[in-house]
């Protein structure tokens, strides 16, 4: 394993020290491993708390700031954070209007956020609600699994609900909006290589030169199946078609198209993929209203990409366009 690290134990604390040093708009609670807005809790605004395992940068710490999250809890690499971290984050961002937890549907994340909500309820003074993101169409037969995973839609949801909270929509409205975004977003991912989890030190899986994993999550875990790697056009079809098939039907509604790098795939390949995605959507009569291309929800240094489509309406698009100022997403201000 060759990595720019001091030691596997120091990967997360070192990254948090760097984030604090690089971004004066952020404050880092190192003891609890929570990234916060330096400006503190906003009176009368719903606090948005997310978090998950580290290794998906810039998500979630890089999405803390005006127009997006109020706090992000950093777990170990690919390991969900713990309830006491979430509790600390929840109390720190509470501005009196309640706190919304944004949770990706992974067993560990769901259980730890559940315990955090129980702790918050026991203490009693902050109203906490939560939304579970589960947009991954690779997970079939979700009755017999832990359900669909939360992947790319998390980024779009944090941006859109972040803008709504900034407009001072109340907790119930933010929760409902978050569920609406999740219900209208679908994703599919693929990998060309495994990543190396620092604590493990070896690739999680091996892939032949002519193979790729289809239907991966964001934790270096293998996908549902291994396929022979063809030209980009064919890979794009294998990603977009299941997404389009599963996307809730709404006549003529435009979509937000999000093409994401898993960390190791460069923009030149990602734009190539976006071109194919755009062509497939056009052929299918789906108009793309907004786009996002880049590494936003990664899986360490894994080579690969995911495609997320979000069926939008005017409200979602105007919230998408609202100003945002975070290390990972910044526009309009």
């Amino acid at each position: 394993m060759k990595k720019l690290i001091n030691s596997p134990e120091q990967v997360v604390p070192d990254a948090l020290r760097g984030m604090a040093a690089a971004h004066p708009d952020l404050r880092v609670d190192h003891e609890n491993r929570v990234v916060l807005r330096a400006s503190g809790a906003v009176e009368g605004k719903v606090g948005l708390v997310s978090g998950g395992g580290s290794g998906h940068e810039p998500m979630h710490g890089g999405f803390v700031g005006h127009g997006m999250l109020d706090a992000a809890c950093a777990g170990e690499v690919f390991t969900s954070p713990t309830p006491d971290q979430m509790q600390a984050a929840t109390l720190a961002v509470s501005g009196g209007a309640g706190v919304l937890h944004i949770v990706k549907n992974y067993t560990g994340d769901v259980m730890n956020f559940e315990m955090a909500a129980e702790l918050a309820a026991a203490e009693g003074d902050v109203e906490v609600r939560s939304v579970v993101v589960d947009d991954d169409v690779a997970v079939q037969d979700s009755l017999y699994t832990a359900g669909r995973r939360g992947v790319g839609a998390t980024v779009l949801l944090e941006k859109i609900v972040g803008a709504a909270a900034e407009e001072r929509r109340d907790l119930a409205a933010c929760e409902e909006l978050a569920k609406k975004v999740n219900g209208n977003a679908r994703s599919m991912g693929m990998a060309l290589t495994s990543c190396v989890v620092p604590a493990a030190g070896v690739p999680t899986f091996e892939l032949g030169d002519d193979e790729f994993e289809l239907g991966i999550g964001i934790h270096g875990e293998p996908g549902r199946e291994r396929r022979r790697l063809g030209p980009l056009r064919e890979v794009a079809e294998q990603l977009v078609e299941p997404v389009l098939q599963d996307l809730p039907a709404a006549d003529g509604a435009p979509v937000v198209a999000f093409v994401n790098s898993m960390g190791g795939t460069p923009l030149i390949e990602l734009y190539g993929l976006y071109a194919e995605v755009a062509a497939i959507c056009e052929k299918a009569g789906v108009s793309i209203a907004r786009s996002l291309v880049g590494p936003y929800i990664t899986s360490l240094e894994m080579a690969g990409a995911s495609v997320t489509l979000l069926r939008a309406d005017d409200d979602l698009l105007s919230l998408w366009d609202a100003p945002v100022s975070t290390p990972g997403l910044r526009w309009g201000m």
Binding site: E76, D84, M111, A146, G217, E221
Partner: protein, 215 residues
């Protein structure tokens, strides 16, 4: 030294220490199992948490069984993360709450506390036997424990019987199709690999038997 019919506070904290040592010894193996069907961190996460449990025992020696396991449970919940943190943490918390502020458990009380821990795991993780999880070892082995106690065994003998039954149950998770946790996303590809949670649970039961067997 040890009274074979009773599980003393000293023996039960020795259980926690032996479990930490066993996890540290098998860290790489647990992580390798997890790499096959999960995300390659079960060994490192559990080692971090169980090492913190031992540190807490040294720093703040608990005065009774309930306090010891509540401390261990909260330490695991706060240090492990992932799914194993809440699952092992809830097991220890429920064990401690059920054991209460006592300095020893007889075989029946130990069985009751173990069963309460198991019920906590099921409530938290919502897994059933056959889902390819730690429940596939815990459930049948606690039944073996209870049967041994019903047959007149003391705490140490019942724990040994439960531990002896564990490896076979662990290996029996290999052909199962995972329906809970991260391995469930692999579908058919989860078949053929031992569940890492069932492997660490085997260590938990073996550590208990070793601790109650005395030095």
């Amino acid at each position: 030294m040890a009274d074979a019919d009773q599980a003393s506070l000293a023996a039960l904290t020795d259980w926690l220490r032996r479990f930490a040592a066993a996890v540290a010894r098998d860290e790489r193996h647990l992580t390798d199992l997890d790499a096959k069907i999960g995300d390659a961190d079960h060994g490192s996460n559990l080692r971090r948490g169980t090492a913190a449990v031992v540190e807490a025992l040294d720093a703040d020696p608990p005065g009774d069984v309930g306090a010891a396991f509540k401390q261990a449970g909260m330490t695991l919940v706060k240090t492990v993360g992932g799914a194993s943190g809440p699952l092992y943490g809830t097991f220890m918390l429920r064990f401690g709450t059920t054991a209460g502020a006592v300095d020893a458990l007889d075989a029946t009380a130990l069985g009751t506390a173990l069963r309460a821990g198991y019920d906590g795991v099921v409530a938290r993780g919502k897994a059933e036997p056959g889902d390819k999880t730690m429940v596939d070892v815990l459930e049948p082995c606690l039944t073996v424990f209870d049967e041994a106690v019903a047959g007149g065994a003391g705490a140490a003998a019942a724990a040994r019987a439960a531990a002896d039954a564990a490896p076979e149950r662990r290996d029996a998770t290999a052909p199962l199709l995972a329906r809970k946790g991260r391995a469930s996303y692999l579908g058919e590809r989860s078949v053929g690999h031992v569940d890492p949670g069932s492997a660490s649970t085997t260590l938990l039961l073996e550590s208990l038997a070793d601790a109650l067997a005395g030095p």
